[in-house]
Symmetry: C2
Subunit: 439 residues, 2 copies
Amino acid sequence: MQAPENLAHYSLMQMLEGIESGAFCTEDVIHACFDQIEQREPEVQAWQYRLQREEYLAQYRSRQAFYDQSLLKGLPLGVKDIIDTADMPTELGSPIHKGRQPVDDATCVVLLKQAGAIVLGKTVTTEFAYFKPGATRNPADISRTPGGSSSGSAAAVADFMVPMALGSQTAASVIRPAAYCGAVGYVGSRGEYSLRGGQPLAQSLDSLGVFARQADDIALLRAVLLRTGSEHQTAAVEAPRKPAKILMCPGSWLGPVSVEMATALEEATEQLLKAGVTIAMLDQDVAGDQGLGGLVEHHATIMAWEVCRNLAAEAAQPELLSPQMQDLINKGLAMSREDYLAALAAVDQARLQLHKHYPDVDAIITPAAPDIAPLAEEGTGSPHMSRAWQALGLPTVTLTGVKNRQGIPLGLQLVGRSRGDDALLATAAWVNRVVEVSV
Amino acid sequence: MQAPENLAHYSLMQMLEGIESGAFCTEDVIHACFDQIEQREPEVQAWQYRLQREEYLAQYRSRQAFYDQSLLKGLPLGVKDIIDTADMPTELGSPIHKGRQPVDDATCVVLLKQAGAIVLGKTVTTEFAYFKPGATRNPADISRTPGGSSSGSAAAVADFMVPMALGSQTAASVIRPAAYCGAVGYVGSRGEYSLRGGQPLAQSLDSLGVFARQADDIALLRAVLLRTGSEHQTAAVEAPRKPAKILMCPGSWLGPVSVEMATALEEATEQLLKAGVTIAMLDQDVAGDQGLGGLVEHHATIMAWEVCRNLAAEAAQPELLSPQMQDLINKGLAMSREDYLAALAAVDQARLQLHKHYPDVDAIITPAAPDIAPLAEEGTGSPHMSRAWQALGLPTVTLTGVKNRQGIPLGLQLVGRSRGDDALLATAAWVNRVVEVSV
C-alpha cells in the first residue's frame, strides 16, 4: 500500500515502520492526529472524553524512553466507553453512570498500554452498547449514522483521528459501524480475549473488538492482546494468505438487504473466483430457517434473557433508561427459560452442522450490514447480518474496498473458524488486495 | 429437617419460614449470627472485612419495611472478596489491591440485595482465587485448611456465621472448600449467571458459586440470581426429586484419593441402589486418560494460558505475587498456542462423548476432594476432583451427610447436565435425605 501524504492517514503498521526507520517521529503522528481531531470532531463527535494535545504530549514526554523502545511507540488509542479505564471516566453511554470513575483499567487496555499505546480518549458508545445512539455521525457522510454500538471507535479510526481503537460486540456492534464508516473492524472468537473490565451485556454473546485501517494492523494488536508477540517487534503478523475455498452466504438468508449490497457480494465473489479461489454457496439446509437463518431470532432471544440479568442494577432505574432498553429488559423478564434454553441448543446444533458440512473452508463471505449506513435520524441500523455469526462465537472481519458509486462504504465481512483468528486476518489481508468493488 | 436450637444453625429456608410464621424475627437471627461470629471468628478468620453488629442493625432498621416485605428478609450474606462491592473494599486476596474500593456492586450482589439480603462482609479468598491461602481455618477442625479459593465463604456458612455466601470456581474453588468445611457448595453451569463485577481469572472456566446449608436454600438463591422467582415468595424451589439413574465416577480415575474417600463413595452408591436408584459405572473409555481423566491436565493448561493474560496488570508486579502465582503466569506465557487450542478441543470432544454415551443420566456421583481437608500448613488441597467437571462447565453440588468417624466432612459431589441446574439441585435434595455415610 502506498503511503498517504497526511501522516494521520497512515495505517498503524505504516506509522510504526516510519518511526522505526526515522522517516518521522511519534510526535509528528500525534500532531497529525490532533490536527485531524480538532478539525473534524465538532462534526463527527466520536469522543466521549479525551485528552487535549498538550496533555497527550506531556504523557508521551514523561516516559519517552519507554515509549520509543516499545512496540506501539506511544501512538494513540481510542477506547469504547463501555471498557473501564482507571484514569478516565467510563460512563457506558448512560446517564445512570455519569462521571463513573473505575478503579482499574480493563485488561485489554492494560495490555495495549504495556505495549506502548497511549489512550487518547474514550469513544462514544450507544447506551450500554445497545441501541440508543450517541452523538457521533458517520465521517463518510455526516448525515448518516456511524452505526452502533462502537460508534465512536469506528468513526475515530475511519476519520483518521487515531490509528487503532477498542470496541465490543454482542450483536453487530463492531462489524456494522466498521462497515458503515469504512474502517476494518474485527471481532475475536468468543473466549479468545480477557474481557476483565469490559462491562458485560450478555455473557453468551459478548466479544472484544478492534478497529484499525488494515488487517495486518489488527493482527499486530491481536498479538499484543494475547501476549503472543515479541515485545519489541512486529514479527508476529502473518503474511497475507490466499484462501483455497470461500463460502458465500447471501445476506437475504439472514434478513432484508439492498440490491446494491447483493450486487456487491456477487461482484466480490466473482473477483475472488477470477483470482483462483474456489467459491461455494452455503447450502440452504445449513443456512435456512432451521439453521443459520434461525439463529438471527435465537440470538435476539439469548440477548434479551441475559441483558435483563446483567443490567439488574440499571433496570431498577427505568426512568433513566431509553424506551428501547426498557423494551429489551421487559422482553427478557417475560421470556420463559425454555425459550432461552431452546435458543442456546439451536446455536449448538447449528455449530455442529456448519462444522460437519464445511470442514475445509477458509472463510465465509457475507454482507456486514443490509446496506450503506441509514440516515442518522433512523437509528444505528439493523444488526441482522451479524447476529448468526455472533451467536456462533466466530471471528469476523470487515473488508475494505467495497463502496457505492458515491464512495459511501458498503461493507462485506469474512467469517472465520472458531479460534482461527490468525488465519482469518491473513486471509482478509489477501482478499483486500484482490477485491475492489464499486456498485 | 428438625429445627436446631440455635437460630444461627437454621438453614436459610428454615430462617425464612420462622420469620414468615412469626416464630422469631430477623433481628433474632442477626443476633444469633453475630454471637457466633464474635465467638468463633478469632479462630476461624473467615472475614476479610465485615460490618459490626450495630452497623448491621442500623442498616436493617433504616429500611426495615423494605426488608420485612422482601424475599430474603434482611438476612446476612457473605461475599467472596474477589466479587466487587461498592460499599466495602474488594482486595482479591492480594497486597496489590490493598484498600481497593470498586465503584459498582457485582450483579450477583445487586440481585441478592434487591431480594433483601444484607452483605455482612467480604470473605477471605486465596490470592486472586488461586492457591496462596489466606488466614482462614477449617471450622470442623481448626488445625486443617478450609480449602480454597472461596475459603471464607465456605467456613462462614459451615460455621453458622451466615446462612448464605457467594463464591467463584475456576478449578475447585467452591466444591473443595464446601466439602472440607461441610457446607453445601454449588457451582452453576457455565454461562448461567452474570459474572459482571466478579473479577475474572480464566474466561473459559470461571463460574459463579453459592454456599448454604441445604440444597433447597441454593435453589432459592438461584431463582434470585436468575430473576426467575416471584419477588415475595419461596415457591420457585422444586421439591426433592428421586433420580432414575446415577453414574458413578471413581475418584481414582481423576487423581489419587484416600481409601476412606473411595469407601465413602462405594457406601453412598450402595445406599442409593437400595433406595431404588439405578447405578451405572462410568465407562472407562469415556472416563480414562483420553476422556475425562485427560481433562484434568487440559484444564490446567487452559487455566495457565488464560490466567497470565487476565492478570496482565498484576503480572507486571511480580514482587507482590506469591511464588505459586508467578509459576502459573510463567507457565502460561511459556505455553504454545497449539497446546492451549488442543486442550480446548479435547474438552469439546469429551463433552460430545459424555453426551453421546449417557443421554439419560440424572447425575454423576464422584468425590468432591481426594480426602478430608489437609492440615493448614500443607496448603488448600488438590483441585483434581473438580478440574474435569469444571472444564466441561457442568453444574456441581456437594452432598451433606458424608463424614469420617471423627466427624470430619468427607465430601462427595453430584455433577449435573449442562444447564440442568434445577434438576441437579432437586436431585441433591433427595440424595441428601437418603445418603448418610460414616467411614
